[in-house]
């Protein structure tokens, strides 16, 4: 019997037991659905986050004090002047700025708000490519050098603090300090940033003048292009180590490295969840095997008839194998559709871009046919090996 005939016979077998075939498929459907949801969300989410990270942090790197440093940590380990010198001497660096951030309460005439305060130099604005002036102006190098008590507010924050009133030229209070609002800005937010508080930016020299032991928490740099990231990072590390006479005291990390680490982490997580989801697929496969065994027993007589009429072992084996593979493939197809549907719904509510993981679709189909063959082989072989005399006598 050729393949098409076997295929038709198998489809007839499935069709004859519609309800049972659907229930059997259910196990595969659930298994494939969960695998697809997990991998689609994992892979798609990862890709979406990477795109965001690239938009915000292309060619950037950060400098911190090394966590595992053996040197003594001092407040002047990194200074504003270091960034100025580095910006001048390194051709690989486009921008390099110091950055201190803290969470504070800002008080306006209308309201008090919790704010993420960033202190940096004027170059900070150039580095943040998505930051745009809304009203007034941003602070300048002069404002910074003069340690002026000025502040630039996120537009939405200004509206909270001042209501309908124009905030420009008005004052806000931060503890016992009073700062003049010189401008507002809008900024494209990092989509996956969980922080919901508003931002405000002040000159770092002013901010440091308020500290008892003035220090810079972090240096942020941006290389002129992708190829310059490594050399820029090298130069920064070398310069700081030499200048401050400290070995292995600084840690420089590019956005790319952070991204790689993030990807590795989410990749591992996705894999673990896929394996857990995959267990349900195996359970579904066992269900297929179980039903196929029942089917073989139930159709013992049919197998006997077919053998008496000239079916070879191979004909019977293929007939049952195709049956289980078809059940698994249809289950797999429905599972893929369900999985992508559920993943899209979740993605929609999680505000992720539409995600589609072709990989997981191919893997799902591969897996369901493999499960069909693996779990179908034993029952099919059992059917093929039936003794025709016994099978014909079976009631």
């Amino acid at each position: 019997m050729n393949f098409m005939e076997s295929f038709n016979t198998a489809v007839e077998g499935i069709w004859a037991n519609k309800m049972r075939s659907i229930l059997t498929m259910l196990g595969i459907i659930i298994g494939i659905t969960s695998v697809i949801v997990v991998t689609a969300l994992g892979e798609g989410g990862q890709r979406a986050i990477n795109e965001e990270m690239e938009k915000f942090g292309q060619n950037t790197f950060n400098v911190f004090i090394n966590w595992e440093t053996k040197e003594e940590i001092a407040s002047e380990d990194m200074t504003v002047e270091d960034t100025e010198v580095l910006g001048r001497i390194s051709p690989a660096i486009e921008y390099i700025v110091p950055s201190n951030s803290s969470t504070i309460d800002l008080k306006g005439p209308k309201k008090e708000e919790r704010v993420n305060l960033t202190a940096s130099t004027a170059d900070y604005f150039s580095m943040q490519s998505t930051l745009k002036v809304a009203k007034g102006r941003l602070f300048t190098e002069v404002d910074d050098k003069e340690q002026r008590a000025v502040i630039v507010l996120e537009e939405a924050l200004a509206q909270k603090l001042f209501g309908q009133m124009s905030p420009i030229g008005q004052r806000v209070r931060w503890g016992n300090q009073s700062l003049v609002v010189i401008g507002t800005y809008t900024e494209e937010k990092f989509k996956f940033d969980m922080a919901t508080s508003y931002g405000a930016i002040i000159p770092i020299r002013y901010e440091m003048s308020l500290q008892e032991e003035p220090s810079v928490q972090m240096i942020m740099g941006k290389a002129i292009d992708k190829a310059s990231v490594e050399p820029a990072m090298q130069q920064v590390k070398q310069y700081l180590s030499r200048k401050h006479q400290k070995e292995d005291h600084y840690s420089v990390r590019s956005m790319q490295e952070s991204m790689d680490q993030f990807n590795q982490m989410t990749g591992t997580l996705t894999l673990i969840f896929s394996i857990i989801a995959g267990i349900s697929l195996v359970v579904g496969g066992v269900g297929v095997m179980n039903i196929m065994l029942v089917s073989v027993t139930e159709r013992t007589r049919e197998i006997g008839i077919r053998k008496a009429l000239g079916a070879r072992r191979r004909d019977i084996l293929i007939q049952f194998l195709i049956e289980s593979v078809i059940v698994c493939l249809i289950g797999g197809l429905i599972g893929v559709l369900f999985g992508l549907g559920i993943a899209s719904i979740i993605a929609y509510f999680a505000q992720l871009p539409p995600l589609m993981s072709w990989n997981s679709v191919f893997i799902a189909f591969g897996f369901s046919s493999a499960i069909g063959i693996f779990f179908g082989l034993y029952p099919a072989n059992k059917a093929a090996k039936l003794d025709p005399i016994e099978a014909l006598r079976y009631e």
Partner: protein
């Protein structure tokens, strides 16, 4: 056509070996109509399974249509069953979910006959047994006699060397039984070689020759002198 020589078969049940066939020899010529009789346990069913290539003898030879089949492998036996043997069973053994036409097509599917050729031959075979009107009926929509006629059409469709009928009237009322026996006689008249297993003498008497089994050997092999001729109608003629 069919030549069996010194066939033996024994079954093992636990430690005891139970001999079923103890050296059976039989020669059936082309076009013969032979009935095999014997009480249950006489070995006639086992012998039938051997003739039908559903089982292999422990020793002895079995030549069917020029082929020594006793030493063939499973796959080759399947081909022999498909090409050389037509089965008619007591319990019809039709595929319950398939139409008459599909049931008759089945042996040709295993013979890799093309779809259109299959359709043509199956239709002819069903016409030959008088079921042209019932081609699309499933077995549940047919009477016992009609089911057996579908089975006969299926048995003949690959033009086998022998037709093996195992108690073909056992599940039928007497009227249908007569009809089926009439059909066998008609086929015999057309030159089909038929071997019929039965335990009823008046069924066996439709054949030309009766072979009787007892305790695993043939004890009698004789021509039928008082042959019964059935007509498809109710009348039974005894000559």
């Amino acid at each position: 056509m069919l030549h069996v020589e010194g066939l033996t078969k024994a079954y093992k049940t636990g430690d005891t070996v139970l001999p079923i066939l103890k050296g059976v020899s039989l020669l059936v010529e082309q076009g013969e109509f032979v009935a095999i009789m014997g009480p249950s346990g006489s070995g006639k069913s086992t012998f039938m399974n051997m003739l039908g290539c559903l089982d292999r003898p422990d020793s002895g030879s079995y030549m069917l249509d020029g082929i020594e089949v006793s030493s063939l492998k499973d796959t080759e036996l399947a081909v022999v069953r498909n090409q050389k043997i037509g089965f008619v069973f007591q319990s019809f053994n039709l595929l319950a979910r398939s139409s008459s036409l599909h049931n008759v097509e089945l042996p040709m599917m295993y013979a890799n006959v093309s779809r259109s050729e299959r359709r043509k031959r199956a239709t002819e075979a069903l016409k030959r047994v008088g079921l042209a009107e019932r081609m699309d009926h499933k077995p549940t929509q047919l009477s016992g006699g009609q089911k057996q006629r579908v089975a006969i059409a299926r048995a003949l469709v690959n033009k086998p060397a022998i037709l093996l009928a195992d108690e073909p009237t056992g599940n039928l009322d007497s009227r249908s039984g007569v009809e089926i026996m009439a059909m066998f006689q008609e086929l015999h008249a057309q030159g089909v070689t038929i071997i019929l297993v039965t335990h009823e003498l008046d069924i066996a008497q439709h054949a030309e020759r009766i072979v009787t089994f007892k305790d695993g050997v043939i004890i009698r092999d004789e021509k039928v002198t008082e042959r019964i001729f059935s007509k498809p109608s109710d009348e039974v003629i005894v000559t």
